[in-house]
């Protein structure tokens, strides 16, 4: 029991975790972005869920309950001895959006990745974080063969409010991904400040 513990390491030895969520539609480069800045190769973990309703495409044999498995990719950046940052990619499929609440709870904010070839796949993510007043920025992942648009064109096409930063980037590139993380944290700090009257 607790009395047998003889450990001089206390809570000071445990860093405070912080989270950033990488969201966006299927195939927008979420895991690529996680991998480009993570200090560990992206890990995958699974949540086993009991599913109600139809549309199951992934059954696992847990008793006779109908369950489904949601895979989450994530990475880690050690900020300092006191802070460790986790990057979580959201499951792409729309029916797992309820999991985004768990991911976003207590998070610094979200980077919504956009693929200009499939703008519509990121509409919902933008709407989700906008409604919940979670700080987010939009990063256009500039795929090699994708049509190029300006930030203003993307903003207009996705009806992104002026207060939400929009930037162009390359999810494969470490510096580009770092820049997006910095931009998000600055944005979160600006929105965390009390309104200047």
């Amino acid at each position: 029991m607790a009395s047998s513990i003889s450990d001089d390491r206390g809570m000071d030895s445990v860093p405070t975790p912080v989270k950033i969520v990488i969201a966006g539609g299927f195939g927008t480069g979420k895991t690529t972005m996680v991998g480009s800045v993570s200090e560990i190769p992206p890990l995958t973990t699974e949540e086993v869920l009991t599913e109600v309703g139809a549309g199951i495409d992934d059954l696992t044999g847990v008793e006779r309950k109908r369950t489904t498995t949601v895979a989450l990719d994530f990475g880690r950046i050690t900020i300092s001895r006191r802070h460790v940052l986790y990057l979580f990619g959201t499951p792409g499929q729309e029916r797992f959006w309820f999991m985004w609440n768990d991911l976003a709870r207590g998070a610094i904010g979200t980077i919504v990745l956009v693929d200009t070839r499939r703008l519509e796949t990121s509409f919902a993510a933008i709407d989700f974080f906008e409604r919940r007043a979670i700080p987010f920025i939009v990063t256009v992942n500039c795929f090699d063969n994708a049509p190029r648009y300006t930030v203003e064109e993307i903003r207009a096409a996705l009806a992104i409010p002026d207060r939400v930063p929009v930037m162009l980037g390359d999810a494969r590139d470490r510096e580009s991904s770092k820049l997006a993380l910095v931009r998000l944290v600055k944005h979160a700090m600006a929105t965390a400040l009390p309104a200047s009257v």
Partner: protein, 123 residues
């Protein structure tokens, strides 16, 4: 974290059904454990008794602070199972944890955001 140190390996597959490990319990009581919650095992004078192999695997993995998500990934266990296992270890005083914020709905405070910003810029 060296996966080879674990006694689970890729070929072991799902050895038992997830909710056999947790005796059918679901993680309602430990829902405050975030995916990023840091878990660190406290050094005990003697090997704790009455723990399942899965509990002991969690203790071994968390000698240095590690997240719930990493434990789940390395042990190939669903997140919900790892939450239950960690809840048991917390109850027995064998691990300590630190979550993103005291109240889970909260966002990180400005000091934390500044520390993260500085760290990212210096990467």
């Amino acid at each position: 974290m060296n996966r080879d140190e674990g006694w689970y390996d890729e070929s072991a597959g799902p050895l038992v059904r997830p909710y056999t490990i947790t005796n059918g319990r679901t993680p309602t009581a430990t829902a405050q454990l975030d995916l990023s919650t840091q878990v660190m095992a406290l050094r005990a004078e003697r090997e704790p008794t009455g723990l399942s192999p899965e509990h002991l695997a969690v203790v071994r993995l968390s000698r240095a602070p590690v997240s719930i998500a990493e434990i789940a990934a390395h042990l190939h266990l669903p997140l919900g199972v790892v939450r239950v296992l960690c809840g048991d270890l917390i109850d027995r005083g064998l691990v300590i944890t630190r979550s993103p914020t005291n109240r889970s709905a909260q966002r990180p405070d400005l000091d934390t955001l500044q520390a993260v910003l500085d760290g990212l810029i210096n990467l």
